[in-house]
């Protein structure tokens, strides 16, 4: 299964995380890591999830983008090499 890290920028709402996680599960992606934090101005939330699936990541990104409160969705593939690179950066 391919792993991806997906970063979601969204308007802060009490149920936002539930919306995001529901889409991840329902569209067939396994969640292995998650982080949520307000952006510095507190006008936006940033949610970062690591997901895995046999399905193309684009299917998830297009559904997340449709969520009304979601402002932007970014992704990067996590193959072994890039996972290491990511860990080094972190």
């Amino acid at each position: 299964m391919k792993q991806h890290q997906v970063t979601i920028f969204a308007q802060p709402r009490p149920e936002l995380l539930e919306r995001v996680l529901r889409v991840v599960r329902h569209r067939g992606f396994q969640l292995s890591a998650i982080n949520m934090a307000p952006q510095s101005d507190c006008q936006e939330l940033r949610i970062t999830v690591t997901v895995a699936s046999e399905r193309p990541i684009q299917l998830l990104l297009s559904q997340l983008t449709k969520l009304i409160d979601v402002l932007q969705v970014d992704t990067q593939a996590l193959d072994v090499a890039s996972q290491e690179a990511f860990q080094i950066r972190a």
Binding site: E15, E18, R19, R22, H26, Q58, L59, S62, Q63, T65, K66, I68
Partner: protein, 548 residues
């Protein structure tokens, strides 16, 4: 004014002229505000009926349907309707009462987490926790419900928010944005169209939602492309057009399915490669390149890889793509198939053959009649054997396949279009699922004409049991059905039962001549199946046309 009065005022300013609902404790302030008039409210006899009436209202017009329910069971009863509206992309706004803010999370009487339940069955949902947000939330809810790919939006309003004092600010109207077309994709789509020798136009309900029926018909006339529709696309194309091959998919016409399977180019407009359309996906239109047009980017490439995709407003894009195509041999081939595989209505014996009855009904109906159907065999027979000049005249629960949809949808359609005839075609299984809405017909004196095809079976499941489960008819035999004509009469609705072919024409005449609602109860054979049928897991060209 209080929050409830603000809500009613805001609905009025959004152009809402009819709401459907059912009162209860946590929504009482809103019903108190409705008592002062302003917006007509129709009491349905179950919240699911109210949601489906709102759907029928929305689908038969271009308006947003509005339904109202109380907290807890009122809201949970709406859920099936909201799911139906989500799967069929129907603009609906649902307003639910909620327990007061201090009681939320305490398992209060009639408290349930409606916002949580709404996440999977709405396009978006709100809980209003600040009375001052009411105006913005209502404006946003209507904009979300009708923009882009439409869908249901739920607004959950705690009772104390309904009772709080709210400043009467002017109501906002939000404006939709349209994205510009991609020139590169357009050029490639035009190139593929010009190069195709066996193109097929595959049309779905998105064309209706985009209000682009005229543009589609003009495109079809200019290109001369053989065309097929989904269940929701019925009525978008003129059924008399020689290039129209009918519905495709599991119960589609043989001509439509064979043309798609032979095609070298599919132009998909507002459709989504639903599993009931494609059959075995890997074998669907195996030789075709695909141009996919949809307003919802998430549908592009979701089930089938495409050569060109355009997230586009059809009113803009179809005129740009229209050009005459040199495909005479292909047109001739499709026309031959259309004639060769046309429906046949010869049926032995004296018993009523439902497809023929529906054809007779279709031929008899006044122009602009709305037909709603329920779910099952009769639904497919309506799609196959009745003709529709407008997609807003054929209302059927397509994506969710919700039994019990037809009667409340007919209520909503008749309220929306009182000048037009509204006919419900139902089955004995479906009819019982929201039969309480006969009380709504009576309450509003709605002259909805009902044709109930009764085979004393859950017919579609029975058909599958016969074909694929060794004839083991588990829980599908309904020989203990009630006396439907007697039941209608309890609601003051006249009716009659027929069971022989010769009775059909005069009974249809009485049905349509009735000044009030009328039930035509039609006793049909339990053995008549819907053909053709593409069995599960095979390609659409391997349709069954009779029991093997």
């Amino acid at each position: 004014m209080n929050g409830a009065q603000y809500i009613v005022n805001a609905l009025h300013q959004q152009g809402v002229t009819q709401v459907f609902g059912y009162p209860g404790g946590a929504i009482m302030p809103v019903y108190d505000a409705l008592y002062d008039g302003g917006i007509p409210h129709l009491l349905c006899r179950h919240e699911q009926g109210a949601a489906m009436a709102a759907i029928g209202y929305a689908r038969s017009t271009r308006q947003v349907g509005v339904c109202i329910a109380t907290s807890g069971p009122g809201a949970t009863n709406l859920i099936t309707g909201l799911a139906d509206a989500l799967l069929d992309s129907v603009p609906v706004v649902a307003i639910t009462g909620q327990v007061g803010r201090d009681f939320i999370g305490t398992d209060a009487f009639q408290e349930i987490d409606v916002l949580g339940m709404s996440l999977s069955c709405t396009k978006h949902s709100f809980m209003v926790t600040d009375p001052e947000e009411l105006g913005a939330v209502i404006a946003e809810a209507f904009q979300i419900a009708r923009s882009g790919r439409p869908g249901p939006v739920l607004i959950d309003v705690p009772k104390d928010v309904q009772m709080a004092l709210v400043e009467a600010k002017p109501v906002m109207h939000l404006v939709d944005e349209t994205a510009p077309l991609c020139d590169l994709a357009l050029a490639e789509a035009r190139r593929l169209l010009a190069a195709a020798s066996k193109p097929v136009l595959y049309v779905g309900g998105g064309v209706v939602l985009a209000d682009a029926v005229d543009e589609l018909r003009s495109f079809a006339a200019i290109t001369g492309m053989p065309a097929v529709t989904t269940l929701k696309g019925i009525g978008t194309l003129d059924p008399a057009s020689p290039w129209f091959l009918g519905m495709l998919g599991m119960h589609g016409t043989k001509a439509a399915n064979l043309a798609v399977q032979e095609s070298d180019l599919l132009l998909v407009v507002g459709a989504r490669f639903d599993d009931r359309v494609t059959g075995k996906l890997a074998a669907f239109a195996p030789h075709a390149k695909v141009i996919h047009l949809d307003v919802d980017a998430a549908e592009l490439g979701k089930r089938r890889a495409v050569h060109v995709s355009l997230q586009a407003d059809f009113k803009q894009v179809l005129p740009v793509l229209a050009m005459p195509l040199q495909v005479t041999a292909w047109q001739d081939h499709c026309l031959t198939m259309r004639e060769q595989f046309a429906w046949r209505y010869d049926h032995p014996g004296d018993t009523i053959y439902a497809p023929l009855l529906l054809k007779q009904l279709s031929d008899t109906l006044p122009e602009n009649t709305v037909v709603t159907s329920d779910v099952g065999q009769h639904q497919m027979w309506v799609a196959q054997h009745m003709q529709f000049q407008s997609p807003r005249n054929h209302i059927s629960s397509s994506g969710l396949g919700t039994m019990g949809f037809g009667l409340p949808a007919a209520v909503g359609a008749k309220v929306a279009r009182p000048q037009d005839e509204v006919v419900l075609v139902s089955g004995d299984g479906s009819f019982m699922m929201n039969v309480q809405e006969l009380g709504t017909l009576r309450r509003a004196q709605l002259p909805v004409k009902m044709v109930l095809l009764d085979n004393q079976r859950l017919g579609m499941v029975r058909q599958w049991q016969e074909l694929f489960f060794d004839g083991r008819f588990s829980e599908t035999i309904l020989t203990d059905n009630p006396d439907f004509v007697c039941m209608a009469s309890a609601f003051g609705i006249p009716g009659e039962t027929i069971s022989r072919k010769e009775e059909v024409a005069p009974a249809l005449a009485r049905l349509l001549a009735s000044p009030t609602a009328y039930l035509l109860h039609v006793s049909i054979s339990a053995d008549d199946n819907v053909w053709p049928l593409v069995p599960p897991g095979v390609a659409n060209e391997h349709m069954l046309e009779a029991k093997p």
